[in-house]
Symmetry: C2
Subunit: 371 residues, 2 copies
């Protein structure tokens, strides 16, 4: 029988942890008291099983459950539901990780490019990748397009919309995508360095499908989505059905799911459902993620996993050009550095962007020399 | 200028709270340092404003922000994004509540029925409503349909799928909906009491639309969805576009995985986007929600709100027939009681269901007498 192994961290007293683990097993499968299960097959095959309980600190336990894969099928919403649907409402339980059945992984597919594919598509063979962001929202389309031109002439690889850019009256989606794409392509023709513009898709499913269509029509080759915000099942379906051949950046908005380990949600789940690159807050920036959490996210993005391609980690959130060396030393060459405000605050955005790009080249070369 | 007022609880030291409030205002609007905003209109109209900071306990503050409505348009995903997108990743910040601009509320629409409409549709004029759940998952379709018959003959108002029932091989969605709807209708013909069967819709957007179509074709008049799990924007679009005339029950699965006050998420947001009835864990059941939290959820569901119809609160999660009196005394008559396991554990499910229904009638009558 195919089973998914889910791992939870539970705060509990020693005398109650066994009962709690059993309660989670029932909650995440049949959702009735064991005595109400009269059907032998349900009892033997459907009820989740407690595989292991181990102490991981004072009053803290790790519980491993085996969940029947047939309760999930291949549906992303139902997979989340069975892993953490009701138990998400228990403040003393955190979802740490899961080992997925091989069949489910295969059918989900993961990233379509992987690190090698991404490098090939962006024409960057060795060094870390660079990315910047169009902000602040509220600017009209022509100013955003002008920023694209500065970033592109500065030589950055990806130019992404701020995740706050939607379909607002002051920069409507269709008009913005057309202008930013055109400005980026034009700058590439002039400079010889081809940057890629990445619009942010956001909205209800019908809106997302329409935005993907517009982006494709405008010749855009990469898009950004916030899977936790639009819904992971929506993200999965968009990647599978509506974004063929496009690079997909995942943004962490709304993912501040206190009780799901960031490495699992941002690294493993976003990757499972097809993110080619995963943006997350790097430590010592504007957010409080710790160094081990950032290392774990990057590892979940890149480590070998049952034939699933890698996702590129994209540390961000208040990074500066001055920290490039440190970032590359920490993550190695398979990383994309995303710096926004630290470029935009400069009087000459293009020059500052070039400084960013040079710093990444130098840091990448230093890595090569050290290796 | 139209603005949304968002309310956050922030853990902070006294000397840093002003800087933190300002940082949240920037993060939830322009996402760059103030110095990087050169455009006067953006500075004056787009950057969120700190309206008020008040101490609410040692090291705890409530921060009120005014967010520009034009950053959101009417899109649900973008509205969530601007309220809590990046700030959800700050462990010291919880989203407590928001006051929405009237135009946004009007265009969202809220529940299509309200308490009066729900009562009319279910033909129950005075007493609290009753609901039970088909479980455990793993049962084949004929056993689930047989359970429907028992619940219906027992006289319950709504019979809902367990939220774990999806489109599994052991009870495929289309086959299950057909059989359960037929069994429920047939029992109504025999007994004269018309119960309503409520299938659980779960999956990616395309799956949900297809399931809604099947349900409608089978004559189903009510459905259940888990907005936090399928994605709130998906939920909003389904209600608006694909569930005309159908009662919509909202299930709380996955809703615990975020630092958002339950009354705001389950009560206000689910209601805003069209839930007719909102299921949530009642205190002293299997979940740890407190009595004040439950009261706040019910209040958020039912209180007068800019012309938005009420959503019916549905306390659940390990409730028993023996607690009916207490539940009705706590919530009053405009409530739907959902009891599953406590009926299913009985040898005679139909008799136990009848006991539940009688208890609710008696408790409703007692309320009337007391009033």
């Amino acid at each position: 029988m195919s089973r998914l192994e889910a791992r939870y961290r539970v705060r509990a007293e020693a005398h109650e942890i066994e009962a709690i683990a059993e309660a989670i097993a029932l909650e995440q499968s049949v959702e009735v008291p064991r005595a109400a299960v009269r059907d032998a097959r349900v009892r033997d095959e459907i009820i989740a099983r407690v595989k292991e309980i181990s102490s991981v600190g004072t009053g803290e336990y790790e519980v491993r459950l085996l969940l029947a894969a047939e309760t999930m099928g291949d549906d992303p919403a139902q997979t989340l539901n069975m892993m953490f649907g009701n138990t998400s409402m228990h403040a003393h339980v955190e979802l740490l990780d899961a080992e997925f059945p091989e069949g489910l992984i295969k059918r989900c597919g993961g990233p379509r490019f992987g690190v090698a594919g991404l490098r090939a598509k962006l024409n960057v063979s060795e060094r870390p990748l660079t990315c910047s962001a169009l902000k602040p929202q509220g600017l009209p389309v022509d100013k955003l397009a002008a920023l694209c031109r500065e970033f592109a002439l500065g030589g950055v690889d990806l130019i992404k919309d701020d995740h706050g850019l939607a379909d607002q009256a002051y920069s409507p989606f269709a008009e913005r995508v057309r202008a930013c794409q055109a400005a980026t392509v034009q700058a590439g023709r002039e400079s010889g360095h081809r940057s890629v513009y990445v619009p942010n898709l956001i909205g209800t499913p019908a809106t997302l499908i329409e935005q993907a269509r517009i982006a494709r029509e405008e010749g855009v080759s990469a898009v950004m989505l916030a899977p936790a915000l639009v819904g992971l099942p929506v993200f999965a379906e968009l990647v599978a059905e509506h974004l063929h051949g496009m690079i997909v950046l995942a943004h962490p908005a709304w993912s501040g799911a206190a009780r799901i380990a960031p490495a699992f949600l941002l690294g493993k789940l976003f990757r499972l459902y097809g993110a080619d690159a995963v943006i997350y807050p790097h430590y010592m920036g504007r957010f409080a993620y710790s160094q081990p959490v950032c290392a774990a996210i990057a590892e979940a993005c890149r480590k070998p996993w049952a034939g699933v391609r890698e996702a590129m980690p994209v540390p961000a959130g208040g990074m500066s050009v001055e920290r490039v060396g440190e970032l590359v030393a920490f993550y190695g060459r398979d990383v994309m550095l995303l710096i926004g405000g630290s470029l935009l605050i400069a009087d000459d955005v293009q020059a500052r962007t070039r400084q960013f790009v040079r710093a990444v080249e130098a840091a990448g070369a230093a890595l090569g020399a050290a290796a």
